[in-house]
Symmetry: C2
Subunit: 354 residues, 2 copies
């Protein structure tokens, strides 16, 4: 794997530059309050509407849409409405997820519900989901209906993933297969649709569109595996998360669930640690001033995941998913130069912090 | 106004019969949990999934879609996907509204958030909104893109209405024009789109589609005026609301706001009553066993609205909106027999309980 981060960064930058004006144009149609809230969420302004030079999101999804369209048709322009739509659906899901999970911060800023309350978070999320279809439907593309349908199917799968995620929190016996299925919905579905919609709007035949969907979906699973690794061993200054954050909340991430199923003695010790009545999440209250006691216990749990083989498995599985994404590009008949750009994007996603 | 309720009831019954199987087919695609919750909300089963012979909704919106299509094309079938879609969007908005308003009951049953909690209400509402577009997009109709777009535009307006409604609760100076605009969004937009989408899927030209939208939107305002009258003077056994319910909660309904603007001395007394610090909503706690003290105060407020002329204005305004709806049908070139059916439906909506 020899990723050229420059190429991927350029692809993402170009995607953002292309999509930004159309995305702003779409958000401009919302009522005054929803427009302010959506603009805040997207990093364009502060909570009083004053413009910000903030760091916008990476725009991975719209970039995939544009790259897939360009790979098929030699031109990204026909997919612009689709790129805007997938970014709108992504942000609808972030606003509603933050509300449901009661996450008060995203990218070091208060989340929508934390600033404006629940009803606003519900309504603005709804508005972005509906706007995504409006943008595609008015594009004038002869493939708009198929693109809108692919987006709706992916949204249904995204919601299914979120429903499973919530149900799994109440269960102790979730299997790796179930977790992968859930991640396929939560993370894979929209990334899959992002690439698929690019191919659809380029006028590609169904077989090629399906191959691009597989590319995006595999990339989504790779992305989730990396996210789970970062949730245990990642760098707080880059991800905004403290190290061990997912262990602190006893989250059943993919490396943890793999370790429970396949990790032998270390896996059983990890299960005992997770089952222990003591609430590790509350440890920070009763520890030494530097927090070392709680940290030590979390470090020990992370060591169990590592000894069980969960860290190596997740790292290798992420690479395997990227290989499968590449195989899907082969099946799509993607030419060499576009193939390289899409490969680099995939590698960039998984190599960034590993 | 000589409504023939039999004809309207038949139209609604026929609409429900046509739409039900397709609506069930759409909901069947959802994940297990969302399907159960949506089926419960739609009155098809209890909260454990046991089938019910419950009273389903009136299906006004899908009936409008089917009738408009039939009026244009002589056949309701092309609009079936649109009828399902408007019913899905209507129910998405009910589930999210109940959550935002913390309404614990609807049609004498606990609401979705009250049974399953907030996250489920958020997700299942989202799922129904997205499903509405999926159903239209996969219909194979050559007019699917235009129908899906009209639905998205109406959803944006519906959300705008809800945003205004929430904002107005924080204000004392809301004008009648603002209230009518808000009701146009909350109630008029989707009813307008319901009729419009029927015409779109029938292949009608834009001028005719716009006329059907006006018909539905005027009907929506008439509906809201009637709802506001029932919220003050209605029959609890028919509406599920106690009499004076909107006065109890000091809601700024259309007859109240009209009275404040145009009601002279009675209007000023009503303003004083609304502004009085004492919380009438809490009166039931400290009253005589039969609740007569609180009731007497509410009856007095209702009398002020009546003396101010708000009751007469709202009744006449509802009839005027129905007349305008009829004028829109004239503009649409609707033939006599379909015209009668649509007229009866409009009259049924406003005459039912007045």
């Amino acid at each position: 794997m020899t990723a050229d981060p420059t190429l991927a960064v350029e692809s993402l930058h170009r995607g953002r530059e292309l999509v930004s004006p159309a995305l702003r144009g779409a958000v401009d149609r919302l009522d005054d309050h929803s427009r302010l809230v959506a603009s805040y969420h997207l990093g364009w302004c502060d909570e009083r509407g004053r413009p910000l030079e903030a760091n916008p999101g990476k725009a991975v999804r719209p970039s995939l849409t544009l790259l897939a369209c360009e790979a098929v048709a030699g031109d990204a322009a026909p997919a612009l409405c689709g790129a805007v739509a997938v970014e709108l659906v992504h942000n609808f899901s972030l606003i509603h997820d933050d509300l449901m999970d009661r996450d008060a911060e995203r990218r070091h800023r208060p989340t929508v519900w934390a600033v404006w309350g629940e009803p606003t978070a519900v309504l603005v999320g709804d508005a972005l989901l509906s706007l995504a279809h409006e943008v595609i439907d008015e594009s004038g593309s002869g493939h708009a209906r198929a693109a809108s349908r692919a987006l709706a199917v992916a949204t249904r799968d995204l919601i299914r993933g979120q429903v499973l995620d919530m149900a799994f929190e109440q269960r102790d016996d979730v299997s790796l297969a179930e977790c992968l299925d859930m991640a396929g919905g939560k993370t894979g579905a929209l990334l899959g649709a992002s690439a698929e919609i690019g191919a659809i709007l380029a006028g590609a035949p169904p077989r090629v569109c399906a191959a691009y969907r597989r590319y995006g979906a595999e990339l989504g699973l790779a992305f989730q595996l990396v996210d789970d690794l970062l949730g245990i061993w990642g760098w707080p200054e880059r991800t905004g998360k403290p190290v061990f954050s997912d262990l602190r909340s006893r989250k059943k991430t993919l490396p943890v669930v793999w370790s429970l199923e396949n990790g032998g003695r270390a896996g059983r010790e990890l299960a005992a640690w997770l089952a222990s009545a003591e609430d590790t999440a509350g440890d920070t209250a009763g520890v030494t001033p530097d927090g070392s006691a709680g940290e030590a216990r979390l470090r020990c749990a992370a060591g169990l995941v590592e000894r069980a083989g969960g860290r190596d498995w997740a790292t290798e599985e992420a690479r395997e998913r990227v290989r499968r994404a590449g195989a899907a590009l082969d099946a799509a008949g993607c030419d060499a130069s576009h193939r390289q750009e899409l490969d680099e994007l995939a590698s960039f996603v998984i190599e960034r912090d590993l």
